[in-house]
Each structure stands twice: as C-alpha cells, then as structure tokens.
Assembly symmetry: C5
Homo-oligomer: 342 residues x 5
C-alpha cells in the first residue's frame, strides 16, 4: 500500500481497531469522560436530543464486532457481513437499523493496478458505525472534513452516510480517470509502429473494468433509493445530496462501460495490426528473396559445363556479368520500394 | 475552434462572462435602465406580469456563479454542477427551479473530429439562466432567432428551454450526418483495392460514437418527461414541441447505434480483407518463386561434372537450353495467370 | 425506378402533387362537382353523415402542404414532418387528429438493393391525408383495392389507415423474402470452393438489415397501440385487423434479426475459410518447393569439383542420376498427395 | 418424409383433409350417426351438456377451411392464418373463441436436420379445431392417448389444448437433445487433430438454433398466460398443467441458448486451431527447408572453381563431405524434433 | 465420485432410498416407535403442536415416490418432476404445499470438472420432504448442523428449506472459487511464452460457466420471492435469512458472469498471441534463410566458368572467400539480433 503510506499508521495509532469514537451534538464534537473510544460511554452521551455517536472501525475480528453488535443491538447477519469482507454492495434494513455495504477502490500507481476494499455502515437513530476493510479509502479525512462543516454534521447520521458514499464515489472517479489514462496509452501503443504485446495490457485493463463494474453496478440501486426518498427515516433535504452522488456513480459507470467498449475495439485493432504487420513482413521478406534469387539463378547459368558458351570466353565477361547482376538487383530494389513492398 | 470563428469573439465582446442579459415582456425585449448586463436591475424588471429575464453566461468561475446563485436563489449543488463541467446530461428539480444539463457537440472539419461542450440551464418562474462551456454551440443565434419570433418567446422561460434543447439536438443531427459521411468513406476504403490502415480510422470513429452515446442516451429520459407533460409548471402547449425534440434525439441515437454496428461489420470486413490480401500475396510470391526455380534447377543439372553428358557437347546445346528455360518460365507464367495466382 | 415503372407516371398524370382526392360515403365514391382534386369542395362534401374525404399527395413542397394544413387545420409540427422526409416511424396525436409516419421499403432487383421512402398519414374525424415520399410503395393500388371492398371502406378513415399499414408491412415481407434469398446465396458462396470476396456482400446485407431495423422497430409500438385498442376514436372492430398487421411486423422483424445473426455467423465462417485456404495454399506451395529442392540439391552435389568422385566417371552415371531425381520427385509427389498436402 | 412414413398415409386414409372428427361426452367418444366426419352432425351432438367436438384437419385449402369457419363461426383473420402457414406462435382471442398457433419441430435423422411445421388450434365453448401443416408432429397419437385417459378428456376442450401444447413441447425436447448430440460431435471434431471444415457444420447448427428460437421464444408468453390463469374460460385446475408445459418450454429454450453460446465458443476455438495448425505447418516446412539448405550450400562451396582448394584434392574428400552433410542434416533433424518444430 | 467417497455409503446405509426420517418438536428430535424410517408413524407423530417431520430421500424410483406422494398428499406433477431429474430450478405452489427444485453443483478435483445434481423439496405445514439426485451435495451434514441448533430448527419446515438453500448456494461459492482458480491458470498460460492449446481449456471452462448459469439464474427469482416475503406461510423472521442466501446467489452469479467475460477476453488474447507467435516464427525463419542465402549466392558466383576470373587464381582466394562469407553471415546474424528478428 505505498500509495497511501500515512493512512495505515494513522488508523492503528492507538493500537486498537476502533479508529475513532466520537459523539456529536448539533454537529459539534462533544468531549467525553472516561477512556477514549469507550463505546458505552459514547452511546450514553448520544442519548441526548440532536446528538449521535460515530464509531469508526478498521478490520475488526468477530469478537470485537460482537461487542459492537451487543452495544448497539445489531442483527447477527449484518455483523457476519461486516466482519467477513467480500460482500457485494447492498442496502438492507433490519428493523430501524440501515445496513449498507460499499466497495472501495483505489489506484496503486507503482503497479498500475486497482485495489479494492470494503466499507460496511450501520445507521441507527442516534449512531453510525463504519467498518472498513483494506488499506485504502481511509475515512479519517472524511471525518475531519465533516467536523469542519458543523451545519452539515448537524443533520445527524445520514450526513455521515452521505459523506462516506460521496467519498467512495469520488475515489471511483479518480480510479476511472487513471483507467482512462491507461486506455489512452494502450491506444497509442496499438497504433504506433512499435511491435508490442498490447494484448496482455488490454486483458489486464479489462479485468480491472470487470472489478470496477462489480463495485459500481450494485451500488446504483441503493443510491437511487436514497435519491428518490424511498428510505424511511432519511431527512428529505438529504435527497438532493444523494441524487448528486447517484449521478456521479452513474456517470463513472457510463465512463467505464465506454472505456470497456473502446478496449474491445482496441483489441480488434491490435489483431488487425498484427495481421497487417505479418503482411508487411511477408512482402519485405519476399522482396529480398527475389533480389537474392537474381545472382543465384544467373550464376547457375554460367556455372553450366556446355562446350559452346561464347560469353564465357569474352575478355570482360565476368565483370560485365557482375555489373548486370548488380543492375538487376538495384532495379528490383527500387521497383519494390516503389510498390511499397520494401 | 476554426469551425465557428465568429462565435468566441461575439461571446466575450464586452469582456465579461455575461454574454447577454435581457428582460422580455410578452415576447419583446424590454429596454433596461442602468449598466448593461446588471442582473439585479433585470430581475427587478422581470417581476412584472408576463415578463422574464434571460441571462446567458459563458464559462463563469465559482465567484461569478455564486453571485448569480445569490441573485436568483439557486441551489448550491446545481451551481457546483454548472461551474465544473463534465456532468452527464440530466434534469433535476430544486423546489420551483428546474435544472437541466445538456452535452453540446460539434464537428471540427479540419480535424475530422467531434468536440464536446456543455450547457447548464436554470428555469425559474420568471427567469432563465444559461451557462455554456466549450467553444462551440453558441446560443447567440438561438436568442436572436427567438427574439424574431415574438409569439413563441411570449410563452416564457420554457420557450427558451425548448429552443436551447432544439438547437443542441439539431447540432447532434449535423454531427451524425458528418459521422455518416466518415463511415461511408471508411466503407469505401475497406472495400477498395488500396491497402490502408482503416483500423485506426474505425477505432477513432468508434470512440466518437461512444462520446456521442454518452451525450444522447441520458438526454432521452428528460426529453421524454417534457414530451409526456410530466414536468410540473411547463405549459401544456409546449408538450408537442418537446415531443418533436425528443423524437429527433431518438432518431439521431438510432442512427448512431446503426453506424456503430456498421463500423463493427466494417472492421470484420477489414480483417477479412487483410487475410485475403495475405493469401493473394502468398500466391503471387509463390508463383514467382516457382518461375525462378526453373533456371536454377536446370542450370544445376548442366553444372554437374559427369564425364558423359552428351548435351554438353552439342553445338547449339547452350542456346537451346536457354530457349527451353525461357519457354518453361513463360508457360508457368501463363498457367499462374490463368489460375489467378498472378 | 425500373422496378415499378408505371407508378411514377400514374402519380403525376394530372401534373399535380395531389394524386387523388375522393369523397366516400358508406364506402362508395361520391362524384364531386367542380375541378378535379379541389380539396375544399371535397371537404365540404365530406361533412355529411358517414362520409369522409381521402386525399393522396406525393412529395408536396412546403407551400402545397401549407394549403392542405390550412384546409384541414393540421398542426405545424406534423406538417413539417410530412414535408421533410427522413422521420422515424411514429404515432402522434394533435388534439383530434392522429398523425402517423411509416417507412416504406421496396427491393430493386437490378441492384439487389433495398430502397426506402416514407408515408405520413393524417387521420381526422372525416378525412384522411396520405403524403408519400420516394418512388416505390404507391398507394394507388391500395385505394383501388379498398374501393372494391365497399363494406371495409364503409368503416371510415381507420379502414384507410389500416390498409396503408397493411400494404406497407406486406412490402416489408417481400423485402425480407428477398433478403432471405440473398443470405442463402451468400451462404452458398461462403461454403463453396470458389474464392470470392463474400465479405463485401455480407457487409452490404448487414447495412440493409440495419436500414430494415430502423423502419420496423419503431413501428412496433404504434401498431401494438392500435392492436390493444389504446387509440382514442378507433372503432373497436378494427383492433383484430391491426393485431394482424402488428403480428406480421413482429414476425418480419424476428426474421430479419435472425438473418442478421446468420450473417454474422456466415462472416465468421468466411474468415475461417480464408484461413483454411491459406493453410491449404501454404501446404501446396511447400510441397512443390520440396519437390523442386531435390534436383537442385542433388545437382549441387555432382557439380562439386572433388578430384575423386567415382560416380562422375560411370558410363551411365548421368542418365542414372536423372532417373533417381525423377523417381525421388514422383515419390514425393505421391506422398504429398496421400497426406492431402497436394 | 422418410422419418415418419406411416403418418401421411394414416392422415389421408379417407381421402379427405379431415383426419378425424369425434364428439366426446364426459371424456368418452360418442358414436355418431350419418357420414363419418360430418361436422354438422358432430356439432349438433356436441350441444349436449358436458360434450364437445374435436375436429382434426391436415393442410386444408381455403375452401375447406371456409366450410369449417362457417360451421363454427370462426373469424376470417384467424382462418387466413390457419390456412396459410408461416405464422409466428401466438395466442389470440376472437370473442369467445381462443386461437393459438404453434410451430412444430422434428428432427430428420437421415439429414441431421430440423424440419418445422405448424399447428393452429381453435378452442370454443364446445369444440376444438386443430389444423396441422407439415409432415411431422401428427396428432393421432395425442388423440389416442387422451381417449385412453377419460378423466382428463372429461375436462373438455382445454384438456385437448393442453395435450397438443404438451406434445409439441415434448418434441422440442427431443430436437434439443439431438442438437445437444450434434454440438458434442462438433466439439469433438474441433478439438481432434483431424483437419476438418467444422465451420460449415457450426453454421448449419447455428441456423437450426435460430429456427428453434423463432419457434420457442414467442410461445413463452402464451404459455405463461395459461400458467398464470390469465385466460378467461380456462378451468383453474388446468393451470398447474400448463405451468408444467411452460416450464419445459423455458428449460428447452435455456438449453438451446446455452448450446448457441457454446457453438460460438467452438467457432472461436476452431479459428484458433486453424491458426495453430498454420503455425505448426510453417514450422515444419521451415525445418525441412533448413535441412535441405545444408547440402545445397555446402555443395555450392565445393563447386567453386578456385585454383587452390586443398580439400578438393584429398583422397577421401568426397565421401567425407557426404558424411559431414549427412551428419549436419541428422543433427538439425533432431534439434528440430527436440524444439517441437518437427 | 471420488471427491466425496463417504457420502454414498452413508446414504444407503440401511439399504433404502429413505436416508433419514425424523420428527422434530420445538427443534429437538423426537424418538419414534416402530420401524425406523416408517413415514406413516412419523407423520402421525408430527401432528402435534410445533412438530414436523423431515424425510430425506435419495434417487427414489417412481414407485417409492408414489408412496411418499400418497402419504403426504403431494401433486402428481410435482412428483413427476421430483423423480425424473433434469428440471430447471423453480418454485411452485400446489395448494398449501410449496415445491422447490434446486440444481446442486460440486467440483471434482481429479477431473477439474463441475458435476451437477438436483434437490427437490416439498414444504407442507408440518413436513419437509427432500429428494436428492446425484452423488454430491449430501444433506446429512446439513441435517446434523440443524439438529445442533435447536432454536433454529424450532422455526419449523422453513428453517429446513433455508438450510438446504444456504447449503446449495455455499457449494456454488466453492465451485465459483475453483473456477476462478482455473481462469487464473488459463490467464497465466495464455500470457506465458509457452505454446499451448489454451483454446480447449477455455472452451471447457465456458461450458462449465454455461452449466453454472443454468443453475443460478433461474434460482434468483424464487430466492428473491422468499427475501421479499412474497411466499404465503413463511414466517417473517425468515426473510432476512433468505435475503442473505439471495444475496450470495447474486454475488456468485455476478462473479461467474465476470469470469465468463474474462474468458472471452483471454480467448481473444490467445488468438492474438498465436498470430504474434506466427509473426515471430516467420521473422526468425526469414532471418535464417537470408543468412543461408549468402554462401549459396557467393559460391554460385565463383562456380561460374568464365575464362577470366582473376580471383580464382589468387593464392589465398579460397580461404579469403570463406572468411568473407563467414563475416557476412555473422554480420547479418547480429543485425537480425539487433532488430529483434532473431
């Protein structure tokens, strides 16, 4: 994970999986008594009017997650999904708790590769629990951003949910930009005169597109539910903001579909160019073979042992013949040049 | 932007991003007091019955756009979308304000390329704000057109919205016509006897088709909403006119899909033709190799050093042999011609 | 237009764009006073109970169309669509007037090509206006047919609309049959031993399929509206007849989709067969090269200048060698024949 | 029709197109007075409670069909469809008469080909008329089967309709099994070392798949209507039986789609294998060319006429050289064997 | 069935098709009087409050199944489907009995192949009948698992249904993982320098993907019915658990679709790599041909019989020439190396 070196350090700074645990009232952080990151204290403090607690976890194990489940009364199936990663993006409701899973993606420059992680979010009436898997897509910056915008954070748990979705989809856009750059490079390479194995590059990109699609496509339905206000309990003024996120997700999906289509075309062009190159090679080779055939055939003639071959006895027969051969070869060379075989 | 040279000049004639700011009452332009392009004065004048203000902006920055937002009370998310381009076409409602984004496209002859821009439109009860990005698709002519048709402009803001959509979709049709011409050229080239790298041309066109699709496809839903009268606040007599625009957008989309399919077929034909050409080359080369093999093999025979080779001692053995070789080569030549290998 | 030579003559027999203008009462033609083809007289006569006027136009210009519009009170947008061809098939309602556009298609035998035209139809309470573009698909026969079936024509304007749709879709079926024949020919050619450039033929057919699709696909929705009785004002007994037309359109569409799929398969087979042919050529060429290599190599050996080569001094060395070479070549020839390389 | 030789004979045994005409009451055949196959007598007898007539026709002409239409009061459009074959499968209602068209398919072993026919069925309150086109898919066995199951036939006309549908879809399953076998054979052939033109076989199968699809796909909607009880007049206990038929139709369709996809993959594999074979050929040929080049080049050297070439004067120069050439050729041969070029 | 050797033994341990027949009350197994596996006794015992019987059958024949049908009053069509395997996955309701069919899949390591079986389940108010076909996917472990979780089994028949679905879909995930591994291997092989026939491997995998799809796709609708609580009689707390299964099925389906797409890309890459290899071969061969042409042509020149060829008489002409030939060949060799032809 060299692309985001400071993140892992920051995450585990207190040696625990709880990255941060804070209570907000009217959008401002409330100082808590007792141990830092004590969930029970925080939840107690969040019982006040217009207050909620936001706990951020990073790759908790089953035991740690069970503790969280017990504190907040979360459903065992959702807990299972949050601990074991490799879920598909989805939005589920367990009684009054909303459970959402998002795939995170980030681009690792050194390897020209896309890596993926996962964020699971529980949204209750007065709490948000975010569970992150994978190195990238840290939420620390998202939290700091939100803490700077008190009026937004004042809207409660859904403001956090929106910020996380927004942050994740923004990362998608960055990744899509990088893939766009990669496709542009492939394109240049395919149409350059250089012979290269673009086919592997194209395949790798196609594979990443498939990864991308599996992250974005299932996300569209949940986002459109938020955008159309079909989620019970969500404040209606949040709708426009989720619509914005849904719109970005749609755009980034369309972009990737479009890139995928271009890659297919690029591969076809690549195959055509291999065949063209073969044609060119065969023509070039044949031209040289033809040129080389001249001295061989002519020399063969004058290597015959007939008694009566007057040319053999001419004083300047030999240099003349060499000159003829040379002339014929040069003529052929230029004829081939002209007809573009050479 | 050599394709529309006068446009950029006209746009910035007053050195500001506000291209024009006018108030219309019953379809006629109302002369305004004070500074030209003073939004507040204009908005004041538009408060009268059957009047509205139309402000045209070109690539405003955030600060300029904020001023507009404040004057007309526009939503911050829409403002964000209007300033930063690269949105996908969409139709959104923020309370009583309708916000629409359109992709503009125009064909640059010199480069045989399609360029894209964007128009964002805010439609309020008594104002229209159009925000244009990119060089092409100037709205100056659209405005002049509308000012000449007082009875149309008298229908208010939706008449402007319709004219802009109509203008944008008309441009699509021009672009589609140009792409049709390009595809026809590619087709001619693929089936000509000339060897050319049509593959790159096909790829570039496919790329432009993809661009096109990303402009047209998301536009169809908003246009059909207008056409079916599902937009609150739109006068019902506008429906037929939007249906016309929607219809053109659908047609142009079908045309581009159809061209895209043809390009794929053309590429297949191109690959087949490369293989055919290779077959032809190989046959042609082989024929010449066969012809050249005759003197070599025959001369080899008479270059042997056997003591008893009676032909070697014939008076006219040598010229006779040359004649035999020539005859064999000529015969082969015509045989190959007949079987179409040469 | 050699495929339908009498049609154009018949159309313009009176030197006007109005091909025919007749009033029908209870399905029978009513003789009109005054000038032939005088619209106003006809419309007046059609005001009677159970009467309607049917005017057939051929490629009218804007002015002529404006006159019609004024007489019958037609909407300007529909008029625009009816004058300028190149619309997509559609069904629209302007108040009490139904406006329908159909693509016509006919097969020109001489060129093995499909040509397209357009018919626009206005159906009012007591009139039908048909506007035809392009040479083929004349409606004269359709009118005569209907005039012979008084009981059908007695159902009024919708009987005319149905007849026109029926006639147009019947033409589609003829075209589809011709395309089927063309695909069968391509198929034969691809799998024959003849080398031919089937690729261009396939491409041209694919292009015609695309044309076909653009005519039929948008027509299916309007026809199914008629078939399901979703068109206000249409007599319910017409439903079954439109269902029949809709059914034919669906079948012809399925047939063309199926042909299009077969063409793609045929193209793949074509590419495979080019490669197979190349394999065969290469094997054949190589076999001959191998056969030709025998005398060259052997003669080379006996062309060497070693002092001690006993074979050179044999009495029958030379004819023996020729016999050996011949035997080797013949053996190789039969070996290659056996392994199917020759 | 060698695949079902007895059928046509059985059908026309009485020299008429009416194959059988029987009245059933409570599921048992009622003996009729008068001429056999007299429709009017039969219909009269079917007026009783819990009785119905089932008439089976084979390829009637227009006149014969008109007689049937008159007797049972059938709609002219349905009659037209029943006489002229080449309809697509469909379900239509004309007042109280249900009209259904099914494509029949059967596999002709001798030709490895699928043939198609058609069955049209009219279901009225107390009658069923089945009209069959094509040689295969005789309904005689279906009728005998039903007559043996009195309790089923006692359910009336819909029992007949179900039996016919069931019989037709069962035939589809047989055909699909045969196609599965054909695809397995193609698969074996593509991946065998034998060179064969699998491409034509694949194409023919694809064509049959297309035929299949055109029979099955339009049938799914009517069958699901029956299965969901959306057909007025059908007894509700028949629903489960039609659901069974619909299910089989869906399965057979999925199977064919799956086979079609496999055929495409097989074709790709075929093209890859042709290219692989070409590579192998080229390598093999080149290896032999290289081996043959050794004696030619070496012999060329010792054919030179330099005054001072000591090897030429060695006593055993010639046999030594032959040995060297042989050794070089054998070495090359084994090197090529090792690197798999030979 | 070497992959699951103990299963078949366990199944038929009592020499009958009834693998197990148990009654559960409040989730605990109730000891039964009489013969083991006597259905009637079991059903009698299951009439109590909160009790149900679960009978597990393995490949019963018609007679055995008829007995079960009679005991539990099952519909004949469902019985038919349960005896004859090769059904497609489906969910049907016969009065108060729910009938479900699932395809089972398991991976046989030795053959790198996917095998399929079937499970049919009848769910009545107080009984569950599971009928299994094929060797894999034994339900013995599922039963033991459930018996260990009394509180789950206490929910009655739907708990069993859920466990079976869960178990089957879990197997799908295992299979999908194995296919993922296979695709990764193919990928490595395609992009390695080794020449291999990946094409057959790709085809086989595509065939397995098709098999997979036919198992998973039809299952998605029934599962989503359970997940959305659209199944009458299912306890509502089961919904979340079925949603979990549905979610896994969807994910596994998306994974397989994605793998299938990658396989297509891999095949394209494979074809490109064959062509690249051919290009490389041709270049390599041509380079060697060119190198071999040097001694042949030069030796030909000095094999000529001209009277006046001064070089022939030089003392060191011959070794000099050999040196020149060698130098030319070496130079060519390095030139070709440099331009990557060798």
């Amino acid at each position: 994970m060299p692309s985001q070196p400071p993140a892992p350090a920051a995450i585990r700074d207190n040696g625990r999986v709880i990255v941060d645990c804070a209570v907000y009232r009217d959008g401002s952080r409330v100082p808590l008594a007792g141990e830092p990151n004590d969930m029970r204290v925080a939840l107690e403090a969040a019982r006040e009017e217009r207050a909620f607690v936001w706990i951020g976890l990073h790759e908790p194990d089953q035991k740690e997650m069970d503790e969280v489940a017990q504190t907040f009364g979360l459903h065992s199936l959702a807990i299972e999904d949050a601990v074991g990663a490799h879920q598909r993006p989805k939005l589920e409701r367990y009684d009054e708790v909303l459970f959402m899973v998002l795939k995170t993606m980030w681009y690792v420059d050194e390897q020209d590769a896309v890596e993926t992680g996962e964020i699971a979010i529980f949204v209750g009436p007065n709490y948000v629990v975010t569970v992150r898997h994978g190195a990238g897509a840290s939420l620390t910056l998202t939290r700091r951003d939100l803490e700077d915008r008190v009026e937004v954070l004042g809207h409660g748990p859904y403001a956090v949910l929106h910020s996380v979705c927004d942050h994740v989809v923004d990362e998608y856009e960055t990744v899509a930009e990088e893939l766009q750059v990669d496709v542009d490079e492939v394109e240049l390479s395919v149409f350059s005169d250089q012979r290269g194995n673009d086919s592997q590059r194209i395949y790798t990109l196609k594979r990443e597109m498939a990864e991308f699609r599996r992250a974005v496509v299932p996300l569209r339905e949940p986002l459109s539910k938020f955008a159309n206000g079909q989620v019970v309990g969500m404040p209606s003024e949040a709708q426009a903001f989720f619509r914005d996120v849904a719109d970005h997700a749609t755009r980034v999906h369309e972009q990737v579909e479009s890139l995928d289509g271009l890659l297919s075309s690029a591969h076809n062009a690549h195959i055509a160019s291999i065949s063209m190159q073969q044609n060119n090679d065969i023509r070039k080779i044949s031209a040289w073979v033809a040129i080389a055939a001249v001295p061989t055939a002519v020399a063969g003639i004058y290597g015959m042992n007939f008694d009566h071959m007057p040319e053999l006895h001419w004083q300047y027969g030999y240099p003349l013949l060499l000159a003829v051969i040379l002339a014929a070869c040069v003529t052929l060379f230029f004829l081939f040049k002209k007809s573009a075989w050479l």
